[in-house]
Structures are given as structure tokens and as C-alpha cells.
């Protein structure tokens, strides 16, 4: 980590400056100046033997197409391919078209490591868009650090990591959690919370941060229960009884995968009507993608806290949603992670052009401070800790499977993967 600045100080971007920049730049969305390859000779922009030719550059896409995680990762693959196509339509990066090699991680962590190594060692890709679960990221991380690859990782995750070889385009836990808890506390007057999750690191770490925040930073608030169920668990009647008994103001749910469907269906069947908000349900794990399996009618009225909803009302997003549906079909829905995956190629493009080189070291050096005004979620900026400054939003689930945005933070929230006071 010697070449990597670990300082995590606030670089103090004011809201006004951001808004001004955002408006100015979004006008030029998708129509930047075209760079010509001959201005950037291959020998100069690629000194480390990456797969860069005079008119192409190859990157890797590494997600699960098969296995249990395929359900979640499909959207990310689609978003990344859309971004690549759009970039190529604009003339590519440094005048070079992006080509991609897609590998299947097969929902199996060693396979991820194996394929990551193949992409870096055999294919010499210039960067990789990929991974979804923390476990797959942890598996490929040593590979990326050893072979000095560069990974854009799209999922909101538990934090506690800042690798020089990864740009985290999703939110880390504090970004996603704190604003939402503040909001339910202030707007809904919530005082007691029941924390619930699938049993693995992301829900546990997230709930830990939530608990610290509730107990130490919110006044008179308390956690009345905390509970974890194995991945794939399908019977939630016991925990629903406990919730009923404890009468919390908020059920804070981080259930994932197939368990999600079971949980919300059983919650509804047990007579807990989320539209009545008593208790209110706040989740950070259900995107529009998941609602398709759960059924909008079963989750209507629940709140989700994340940085992006498909229903966001801005020009960038409208264009993005239209382009996505055109490419992948009208019945597609777009969740938070899908949008974050879409940012990956664009952030990389910006960093490469800023660096004037595909070399990983130069791209890394250029990355902090990269701004993207064209992001569907709005203006984002890369922090020195390789995470993104982003807004956090709360959405309310509708019967049609979309979220209605009911709140967004005024400012960008600073990423803080090693939050002090929360560990």
C-alpha cells in the first residue's frame, strides 16, 4: 500500500460547487470531445504490456452467469456492456474501441480467483469490471494486488477495505446506513429498532454499524433485537413472532437472496402491513431487481435506503433507463448495483483520459478526484480512498415494483470504509 495515499480527509466539496459543476457538465453529456488514437501512440500509453493495440483496448468482465449468484449479477453484466457500447459509440478511450472478454465466476469464489488470474495473466486486460459478493471480491483481491490489475466493484458492501487495485463504485456501509437511520429517526420518530439479516459478513457488519449509530448517535434510541438466519433460510415465522412481541418502530432488514422472498411473503401473510408503517420496515438489501421475485404487492410500503432508484427524476437517469431498456428489453428493471456497475467503465474512461495512459499505476494515480456528471444517480466523485462520494436516498416501495424517492441527502456523503466510532 506504499504507493497509495491512505489519508481520508474530507476534501470539502461544497454543495453549491457540485451543483454548479453538475449542471454545466451534464449539458455535454454523452458528447465530449473525441480523442484520436494517433495522438496517443500505443508505446506511450501502454508501457506495461497490457492488451492495448493501436485501435482497441481489452478489458475483462467477471461475474457469475451460472449458479446461485447469477440472479443478482446479470444486471451488472448488462449495465457494463451498455456502458462499453456507449463509450465505443463516442469513439472509445484515447481513440481506442473497448473490447471485452467475459468470464463466468460461476458463483464459486475460487473460480473467480482463477478467472481473475486468467484475465490478468493470460489476457492482459487493462481493467476488470466485476464481482458482486464480498466473498468473490475477497477471493480475487490478492490476485489483483499481486498482478497489479485494476477492478471496478459495483456492489454496496460492508467496507473495511480500501485496496489500491479496486475502485468501489457502490456505497460502503456507513454511506448507506447512517443517512437512512437519521431519516427514520427524524422524519418518522422511530426510537426502537429490530435488526435482522442473513448470516454473513455484510449484514453483520452493516447491523453492527447500525447498532452503534442507533445507540451512540441517535438520542433515546435502542436496538430491541438482532437476529441472523442462514443463507437460503425459508421459514421466518419465529422471527416475525419475536418482532410482534418486541413491537419495534423499525424492522431493519438485511435479508438476501431467496430468503428475501420468503421473508416478505411471510411478513405480509402474518398481518404486518408495511403500508401502515407500524412497524416500519427499512431495508438496504432489496433493490428493484429483488422486488421482481418478491412481488410488489408483498413489499409495498417498505422503505429502502440506497444511492440509486430507477425512478430517480433527472435527465441522466431518464436517458440511462431508456438506453438500458432499448438494449436489454422493456421488461428490465434497474437496481442500485446495476447503476453502480454502469459507472465502472465510465469512471475508468475518465481516469485513463486524465492520466493519458492505460498503465494501471497512472490510472490509479489519476483516479482520486475523478468526477462524473453523467452518472444516472447524479454527480459522483472518486474519493482518495477509492470509494465514491454519493448521495444517499430513501425510497418507498410501490405495488408496481418501483420505489418512490421520499428523501435524499442534501450533500454527497463521504465514503468512510474504516469508520471510527463504529467498530
Amino acid at each position: 500500500m506504499s504507493d497509495f495515499d491512505k489519508s481520508r480527509k474530507n476534501n470539502g466539496v461544497s454543495r453549491r460547487a457540485l451543483l454548479a459543476g453538475g449542471v454545466a457538465l451534464s449539458a455535454s453529456l454523452f458528447a465530449p470531445k473525441v480523442l484520436r488514437a494517433q495522438d496517443y501512440p500505443t508505446a506511450e500509453v501502454n508501457t506495461t504490456g497490457l492488451a492495448v493495440t493501436d485501435d482497441t483496448v481489452t478489458i475483462g468482465i467477471l461475474h457469475s452467469v451460472t449458479g446461485t449468484m447469477a440472479i443478482s449479477e446479470t444486471g451488472s453484466v448488462q449495465a457494463e456492456k451498455l456502458a462499453i457500447e456507449q463509450i465505443n459509440a463516442q469513439g472509445g478511450i484515447l481513440g481506442r474501441k473497448i473490447e471485452y472478454i467475459q468470464e463466468d465466476g460461476a458463483s464459486d469464489w475460487p473460480t473467480f480467483a482463477e478467472k481473475a488470474k486468467k484475465l490478468l495473466v493470460n489476457d492482459k486486460v487493462a481493467s476488470v469490471m466485476g464481482c458482486w459478493t464480498s466473498a468473490s471480491r475477497k477471493a480475487v483481491l490478492p490476485v489483483f494486488e499481486q498482478y497489479n490489475g485494476f477492478l471496478y466493484y459495483p456492489t454496496f458492501y460492508e467496507g473495511l477495505e480500501e485496496s489500491p487495485n479496486v475502485i468501489y463504485t457502490g456505497q460502503e456501509a456507513t454511506q448507506q446506513i447512517i443517512a437512512g437511520l437519521d431519516w427514520v429517526n427524524k422524519e418518522k420518530g422511530a426510537k426502537s429498532f429490530y435488526l435482522l439479516g442473513s448470516d454473513y459478513i455484510w449484514p453483520r457488519t452493516s447491523n453492527k454499524i447500525a447498532r452503534k449509530h442507533i445507540e451512540n448517535f441517535l438520542t433515546d434510541c435502542k436496538v430491541v433485537g438482532e437476529e441472523y438466519y442462514p443463507l437460503g433460510h425459508t421459514q421466518f415465522n419465529s422471527v416475525i413472532n419475536k418482532i410482534r412481541l418486541k413491537k419495534p418502530d423499525v424492522i431493519y432488514a438485511i435479508v438476501v437472496g431467496g430468503s428475501n422472498v420468503a421473508f416478505y411473503k411471510q411478513l405480509k401473510a402474518a398481518g404486518i402491513d408495511m403500508t401502515k408503517e407500524s412497524p416500519l420496515l427499512l431495508t438496504i438489501s432489496v433493490t428493484e431487481d429483488e422486488i421482481r421475485g418478491i412481488g410488489g404487492e408483498n413489499i409495498e410500503g417498505a422503505y429502502a435506503c440506497m444511492k440509486y432508484f430507477q425512478s430517480l427524476d433527472n435527465d441522466n437517469n431518464r436517458e440511462f433507463v431508456a438506453a438500458f431498456k432499448e438494449m436489454w428489453g422493456d421488461d428490465m428493471v434497474i437496481g442500485d448495483v446495476t447503476q453502480a456497475a454502469y459507472l465502472g467503465p465510465w469512471l475508468w474512461k475518465a481516469a485513463v483520459e486524465k492520466a493519458g495512459s492505460f498503465d494501471v499505476d497512472k490510472v490509479r494515480a489519476a483516479s482520486p478526484g475523478i468526477e462524473l456528471t453523467s452518472a444516472p444517480e447524479g454527480y459522483v466523485k472518486v474519493h482518495e480512498n477509492h470509494h465514491l462520494w454519493s448521495k444517499t436516498r430513501v425510497g418507498r416501495a410501490q405495488a408496481d415494483g418501483q420505489y418512490e424517492v421520499v428523501f435524499e441527502t442534501a450533500d454527497l456523503v463521504e465514503p468512510n470504509p474504516f469508520p471510527e466510532g463504529y467498530q
Partner: protein, 308 residues
């Protein structure tokens, strides 16, 4: 442990937990009955049992779409038709599988395990290709998703009652079929002595096929019912397989009553432990206790003592 709660709360806890346990019990019974018939009566290990359940779930999904589009007036009742079709679809597939695969393997029970595992992989991929990798959302008629408030603490989910009634109904049906019908007699005769049964004029081939088909058909109905409480996706069937096998083995493979008793024991144990422990630990403990008891009493709870 009890100090935090008032007396009336405790009463409510036990009432609700008891009911949650009963729902879990019904779920286990539905999962296990089909398997108990196939495993107990035919000695075949059907690792694709979960996939037959999911077939039932997908059939329900298709029927729900059909009714929503073509016959919206009858939508509240579509579920009953879906269950019948799920039974037919899973049963037909089961009979086909028996004909194509299982009948060649009756003397090699461990091999049926591998072959049906292969079948489960194939079915998963077929589901994925046809319905997509994502879970599908099955819309349940509104009347089935509500609950009946008994007191302000106790509410009874209607889908829970539905699952229970279904479990009881199918159990009774299977009982009548196995122990009160001529067909059941034939199945049990074959189970005891295949050659003799054939010699006295029982069509063993056809009886086997029917037995397998009915076992799979019940799995299909279970899957159809589970769309109310669980997810429907290509790999969702695998979530059930360990629990299902343990219920059947724990009950004593050849005994229908054993299966039901074992479903009751395991579900109550799990449901009680879930209330006082975290969900993960409750699951681990339940499984460990079941394994432990099986080690002490490998023949299961109910097993006939036979002269070898």
C-alpha cells in the same frame, strides 16, 4: 430468559410459536410425503425432489399469469387449478423419469442418488433457460395473503392455515391410498418381495411407475403451495433437500406415520429453539440433534422390527 416478558405476553408467545411450529410442521410434511413414498416404498433416493417441487411452483406461476390475463374474474380461485396442474405436471415428469432412468436402477440405490442428482442439475438449467435466472414473482390471490386476528397479540396467517389443511388432506389421502386401497396393497407387496408380487400377477412395472409419479406429483403440489411462503427460482429446490431427507430418514423410512411424527418433532424443536436462540444456531442445533439421535437409533423413530 422469561423475566423480560409479562404473563400474557408469554402466553401469546407460546400460542404464536406453537402455531409457527405447526406451519413449519405442515411445510415439512408436504416436503417429505412425496419423498417418503418414493424412498420408503421403493428405496429410491430422489435427489431431484426439490426440482419437482419447483416444477410445481413454475406451473403455479404460469397458471397465475394465464388467469390474470385471460380470466381475471376467476383469479382468486386460480390456486386450486394450479395445484391440480402442478400435480399432473410433476407426476407426468416423474413417470417419464421412472421409465427412462429409475427402473434400470432398482438394485442400486446409491446410483439412483447420483443419477437423480444429475437430473436435478439438468432441470435447474432447463428452468433457467426457460424462465430466466431470476426468481419469478408469483402473485397470490389477496384472500390468501391476509391474516385472522385472534387477539391483539395473536394473528393467524391464512396461508399458514391453507398449508396446514393441505398437509392434513394429502396425508389422509396418502394414508387411504397406501393402507386402504388395493393399489396400496400392491405397492407394499412389491416393496416386500418384488419377485413374488410379480408372480402373483401384480403389474410391478406399472405400479412402480405410478408410485414414483404420485410421489413426484405430491412434490409438485408442495411446490405449488410454497409459492405462498417462499421463492420460485431455478435453484430454490436445493434449499429443501437436506431438511426433506432428514425428516424422512428420522421418521424411519418405511413408515408414513414415522414421517409425520418426525416432521412434528423436528419442526417443534426448531421453532422453539428459534425463539430463544439466533436463527442460525437454532438450525445447527436442530440438525445436530437429529443427526445425533440418528446415530443412536439409525432405524429412525418408527421402524418395524423384522426377522431378517
Amino acid at each position: 430468559m422469561f423475566a423480560d416478558y409479562s404473563w400474557s405476553e408469554l402466553t401469546a408467545i407460546f400460542a404464536m410459536q406453537g402455531f409457527a411450529g405447526l406451519i413449519l410442521f405442515s411445510v415439512f410434511v408436504l416436503m417429505a410425503l412425496g419423498l417418503a413414498i418414493i424412498f420408503g416404498q421403493m428405496g429410491v433416493i430422489n435427489m431431484a425432489h426439490g426440482e419437482f417441487m419447483i416444477l410445481g411452483a413454475y406451473v403455479t406461476y404460469l397458471v397465475s399469469i394465464f388467469f390474470a390475463e385471460a380470466l381475471p374474474a376467476l383469479f382468486p380461485a386460480y390456486f386450486f387449478i394450479a395445484m391440480i396442474l402442478a400435480f399432473i405436471a410433476a407426476g407426468a415428469l416423474g413417470m417419464f423419469v421412472e421409465w427412462a432412468m429409475i427402473r434400470h436402477l432398482y438394485k442400486r440405490p446409491l446410483d439412483t442418488l447420483l443419477a437423480t442428482w444429475g437430473l436435478s442439475l439438468i432441470l435447474q438449467q432447463v428452468y433457467r433457460s426457460v424462465f430466466g435466472a431470476r426468481e419469478v414473482g408469483v402473485t397470490i390471490p389477496d384472500w390468501m395473503m391476509g391474516s385472522l386476528p385472534l387477539t391483539d397479540m395473536i394473528e393467524i396467517p391464512i396461508n399458514g392455515i391453507f398449508v396446514m389443511v393441505l398437509a392434513i388432506g394429502i396425508s389422509v389421502g396418502v394414508y387411504v391410498m397406501m393402507y386402504r386401497s388395493r393399489w396400496g396393497q400392491q405397492v407394499r407387496a412389491i416393496n416386500q418381495n418384488r419377485v413374488m408380487a410379480g408372480a402373483v400377477g401384480i403389474n410391478t412395472e406399472w405400479t412402480d411407475r405410478m408410485t414414483y409419479g404420485i410421489g413426484c406429483g405430491i412434490a409438485g403440489v408442495a411446490g405449488s403451495a410454497f409459492t405462498m411462503i417462499g421463492s420460485t427460482g431455478p435453484t430454490a429446490g436445493q434449499l429443501y433437500i437436506v431438511d426433506t431427507f432428514l425428516v424422512v430418514v428420522f421418521g424411519g423410512a418405511a413408515s408414513l406415520l414415522g414421517t409425520i411424527a418426525s416432521a412434528f418433532t423436528i419442526s417443534q424443536a426448531q421453532s422453539i429453539m428459534e425463539f430463544f436462540l439466533s436463527g442460525s444456531m437454532a438450525k445447527v442445533l436442530t440438525l445436530l440433534v437429529v443427526i445425533g439421535i440418528l446415530m443412536l437409533r439409525p432405524q429412525g423413530l418408527f421402524a418395524l422390527k423384522l426377522r431378517k
